[in-house]
Subunit: 181 residues, 2 copies
């Protein structure tokens, strides 16, 4: 049976205001030897699959600076982890990024964006009975385009490599397993 | 129609040897105003869903220092992006982390772990006719346990929040869409 590593110390090695890099010195349970592990300390995230009563899912298309390309995604964003108000964050992001509200909210799951190098959780919600109620309300560095797609269109775009964001693809896997249940 | 941002400059702001943080100054296509964007510059990754002829999938359970918890995952690792030998990397990681080889390899997709803050791609492979041929061959700071699971068991673990790694869940969504085709 494998054992957890033992953290001997950690310190913030870098801070850009959006995330910190923490270096952790942890000892192997097998050899006792210490190794450094570099981890990003950041907010929790929320992502929302909202569905209208006629089966349309509002998606946002936006330019992303990691990939330097457009990315088609479900609405979402960062939430305060200590605060824990993931559902409120999900409602806010859906409204701000798409102008939609929903009748019923279901938590599809809490996933780890990357447990090796990120310390955060992404909360995935299903928002049923979604309806457009407002215009977009975006931050200054946020420019995006809302598109409505059916689930079949989204599955085709994932297959064809047009929708590539791992967290979005994972959200649709959680949704598929939720529906299959 | 939304337009791409225009990168005016970038510099490496931090380098821990495993990844770099690059700050990009990019101008909005709408306002012309520049904003800083902090992005992790790292290797591409590979992940492998290997399946034996009797429907078992080798998984690896290992302690992760971002989440400070154990994480059940499919085998995978980092590959040189310039090199582009993702398939060779996938074969190597499957063999080293599980001792398995496979008869037939299929690329299920190339996904973006996080296009907002990571510049890399994760290559997802399906390895059919997997068979154990060797013992594990691990790096010094790598300690893991191999477990064999059926797809039904994996889906149940995703549903119940026991398998939470987003890239792994995304890989099973690609697999489900591949099988459904």
């Amino acid at each position: 049976m494998i054992q957890p590593w033992k953290k001997k110390g950690e310190k913030v090695d870098y801070d850009c205001g959006f995330f910190q890099v923490t270096v952790k010195n942890s000892a192997s349970p097998v050899t006792g030897k210490e190794h450094p592990f570099y981890v990003l300390n950041t907010w929790d995230w929320v992502n929302v699959i909202a569905i209208t009563d006629d089966g349309k899912i509002p998606m946002v298309n936006q330019y992303r600076h990691g990939s330097e390309a457009f990315s088609l995604e479900i609405p979402g964003g960062a939430v305060d982890r200590n605060d824990g108000h993931a559902l409120e964050g999900a409602k806010r992001e859906l409204l701000e990024e798409t102008g939609y509200e929903a009748r019923e909210w279901v938590e599809l799951g809490k996933i780890r964006p990357n447990p090796a190098i990120l310390n955060n959780t992404c909360h995935i919600y299903l928002a049923k009975g979604a309806k457009k109620v407002a215009d977009l309300d975006l931050d200054e560095a946020e420019e995006l385009e809302v598109q409505l797609h059916t689930l079949a269109e989204i599955e085709a775009m994932i297959r064809q490599g047009q929708l590539t964001h791992a967290l979005v693809i994972a959200a649709f896997q959680l949704y598929a397993l939720h529906v299959k249940k």
